[in-house]
Symmetry: C2
Subunit: 158 residues, 2 copies
Amino acid sequence: MAKGLDEIDIKILKHLQKEGRAQRNQLAEIVHLSVPSVSERMRKLEEKKLITDYRAILDGKLFNFDITAFVFVEVDGSDNYPKFIERTTNEPEVLECHSITGDGSHILKIRTENTDSFEKLLSRIQSWDGVSKSRSNVVLSSFKETTELPIEKTIDPK
Amino acid sequence: MAKGLDEIDIKILKHLQKEGRAQRNQLAEIVHLSVPSVSERMRKLEEKKLITDYRAILDGKLFNFDITAFVFVEVDGSDNYPKFIERTTNEPEVLECHSITGDGSHILKIRTENTDSFEKLLSRIQSWDGVSKSRSNVVLSSFKETTELPIEKTIDPK
DNA sequence: TTGATCTCCTTATTATTTTAGCTTATTTTT
DNA sequence: AAAAATAAGCTAAAATAATAAGGAGATCAA
């Protein structure tokens, strides 16, 4: 069994994926174990970092973050990669940054307030070392998405 | 103030984004309110669906889901969109599905076990009504990502 | 002003989680 | 093969957390 997990662990993980605040007695009922046994299993799953963290998922649409986009960036020279990645890390509106195969070297997932903040972000990215091209696809509507907000970014009162 | 939220609500939301299982007494300390007051605020935030749900985030890399990719799909004829979306919903390996501007009509984020399951998924997608073209970018490495697993998909014993 | 509403508090009650101690099964060591 | 160690489960008790109930003070509308 992979990673020393059994069916019971899998059941617990799957349930916590959907119900991140599920109580131990509820899980215990599902897997037919006592509450302390479930606690112990959860502790181990967290200790082994199979569960990396727990998050509340917020509805970004309700917070005046209207624009979601995927931005393909061509970063020339892999010397420039570490610095580029560090910069994306410091941009809270960049939700994800992936190094990819094919056209472009990186894809960014972005969530920002409006066209103005989006444009500013894009021109900021363009100015970074090694960035030669970028292409954006703005999201019109989403299905199956996580609707996350940039957690560092202040959610401004309006 | 947007959506009737004040600074205290924002603090609670931000903390729950990072600590999805945070306890009410911990939150109470952060915002300098009593535990029942925090409870009441959480209840309202959930009721208003500002918090859509809570999730445990699992480390996909530890579960033999090696391949993450972004797939651009061109679906011809918007009549075909609803059916297309329904089909992506039934594919647990499709984590996200977005309708987009620019080249292609939809972008999918995919997480799958290996090249074999990836290829099968791609050819399945190609066979759907209206799908004329697709282009994939496989993720080599990721930064700032949520590393989610397809929650419906069985995590197979190995 | 008066009543209604809202948000907070404290205290008491109920529920959940953790700890402790014990049992059994399995694996490792001698 | 027997003994020891380890792992994982259980129950019962203790500790901690969450909820419910009741009341105070502020704000707003009639």
